[in-house]
Amino acid sequence: MRASDYIEHAWTNLWKKKLRTALTTGGVVIGIGSLICMFAFGQGIQRNIKDRFTELELFNYINVSPRSGGGARSARLRRHAQSQPAGDPNEPIAVLDDDLLEELMRIEGIEAAYPEMRFPAQIRLGTREQFTLVQVVTSKACGSAMVQLRAGRAYASDDANEVMVSDSLLRRLDIRTAEGAVGREIEIRTVVLDFSLQSLARMAFGRGDQRLPVSNRVYSFTIAGVLERMGFGGPLPIRSDVFVPPGAAAGMRKLVLTGVSDLFQSPEETAGYSAVTVKVASTRQVMSVKASLEERGLRTFALMDQLDEMQKGFIIMDMFLLAIGMIGIAVASLGIVNTMVMSILERYREIGVMKAVGATDGDVQKIFLFESGMIGLLGGVFGLALAWAVSFVINQVVNGFAAREGVPFIQYFSFPWWLCLGGIGFSILVSLLAGIYPTRRAARVDPVVALRHD
């Protein structure tokens, strides 16, 4: 028998029992559909993370902080207060100041170094208010690939009296379109200072309570641009809803720190950053740059370090999804076994005829295996279609909800070609495996018994 004959014959027989074929195939469709859906979800998440990270060059960033526990300023504060520095006194404690930034820029492979400064503030736009974190970001960084502009532009310079806001903040402020926000006035009311600094100062000098470092000064800015909020955390260089340029922030900060900063008026004090983000030109240089940063007594954190862990996590996630998906497959296989056994019982006499007219046991087994495999093929194809349809609906619904929170549209599912082909192939494979027992029974039918008249 030729392969085309087997296929045609299988199709003809399945078509003759439309309802049963449809029901059995339906089981496979659901099983394979949910399995593909699971995998597509896993793939979607992985692709989202990896693509986004790569697109934003997140693997190119290293987060740098001073090695001592409490950050540069507290370390410095302790030194200022003549208290013992934490840890080994001989260990070099690097200070994250502008001088160090200059020095870092000279390290082979480092493209840029941005200080990281954030402070909490009350934001007002029109009549609505929101409490959020304001981050100081250089205009250079704002113009880079790190920032996804939705409307407007990056602020003109580091000294401009302009800010950039995230689209999610706008949504929380009831502004519907990003374009509508550009050019509007926004108020930033600084609320609170660095509490650790305050408390340490109080501990060190015992008179902090006299001059509470609380300011309610209000600053007005113009919104220069709206950017897309990034969906993921981690050591991102940018993770705030409001960006202000360093020049403008310097002025603010001075006032913010009024009261306590008077105590540490030396210029180096104000220059110490809690953390610095370093951008490496190529991901291949990340490890060597990390090493030279650590030589300088800095603590580093790079997303690259997490890549292996991430990959392991992805594999575990895939296995988990696979395990859930296999439940459906198991149920579907039983359906196939049942259908094939039924079909063979019904066609008992037909099997006798096949053998009487010269079919070998192998021919008979193959005839039924092709039917089984055909159910698998149909189940795989429609299962893929089902998975696609379900994922489309889920995507729309979830993104619909997420859009209200200002989260940008994300494709939660990914259907790479190998998943589509693999899903269909797996469906056929499972169906063939499910068909082994019934088709062997068919092959062993004794034609003499099958053909004996009533």
């Binding site: 045609e8 037909e350 005829v353 009487a356 007219v357 010269g358 079919a359």
Partner: protein, 235 residues
């Protein structure tokens, strides 16, 4: 007995054992059949007629004894070779027709060609040709349920002949038919034998019918060959 018979059945014994009970369906049967002969087999119910035919057709294997067909000892063939033997050498028809109910007459006739690797077009052509030969042109799209018993048996004959076998085995082909239709069917077999050069072995209860058409008559009783009688000489 003709030692050079086209079909040579030697001391054929078939024992069925269902649990502790042993049934000897055929005991030391020896029959020789010449090429192109029409042989009738008769006997009471349970005398082993169907058993003999199934062994001859390669559907079953003997407990002892052997069968030679056209120089080949088919009782020594493997399972697969037996299937090929059935495919190319044997055509079978049965009392209950054994047509596939969901297939049209044409599809039923073409069915054996599927296993013989015959291309689709050729399958259809040959099946139509044989339907014509059994007088069923115009009924090719009908299901077995839409045909009379006689017509169904004609379809079965066409199916048995589609692979151009040299031997036609018929197990009570007229058992489900009235006497007029029975005669027509046997007459048709008789005519086809001459046209296609077939050797026919036909089982029947109706001795009169066999006496009218057959060249030889084999009588079975309790699994043994009672007699082999020549009714007509070689043509």
């Amino acid at each position: 007995m003709d030692a050079d018979g086209f079909i040579q059945i030697e001391e054929l014994t078939k024992v069925y054992s269902s649990g502790p009970v042993e049934v000897v369906a055929l005991r030391d049967a020896t029959v020789s059949i010449g090429r192109g002969r029409f042989v009738g087999v008769t006997g009471t119910s349970g005398s082993g007629k169907s058993t003999l035919m199934n062994l001859l057709g390669g559907l079953d294997t003997p407990s002892s004894g052997r069968i030679r067909v056209d120089g080949r000892w088919i009782s020594e063939l493997s399972k697969t070779d037996l299937a090929l033997f059935r495919r190319h050498t044997i055509g079978m028809i049965f009392q209950s027709f054994n047509l596939i109910p969901s297939y049209s007459a044409l599809e039923n006739v073409a069915f054996p060609l599927l296993f013989a690797d015959v291309p689709r077009k050729e399958r259809v052509r040959r099946a139509a040709e044989l339907l014509c030969a059994v007088g069923l042109e115009g009924r090719s799209d009908h299901r077995p349920s839409e045909l009379s018993g006689g017509e169904q048996q004609r379809v079965a004959v066409a199916r048995a002949l589609v692979n151009r076998p040299t031997i036609l085995l018929a197990d009570e082909p007229t058992g489900n038919l009235d006497s007029r239709t029975s005669r027509q069917i046997v007459q048709m077999l008789y005519d086809l034998r001459a046209e296609q050069g077939l050797t026919i072995v036909m089982i029947s209860h109706e001795e009169a019918l066999l006496r009218e058409f057959a060249d030889e008559l084999v009588r079975l009783q309790d699994g043994t060959v009672l007699s082999q009688e020549t009714l007509r000489g070689r043509p």
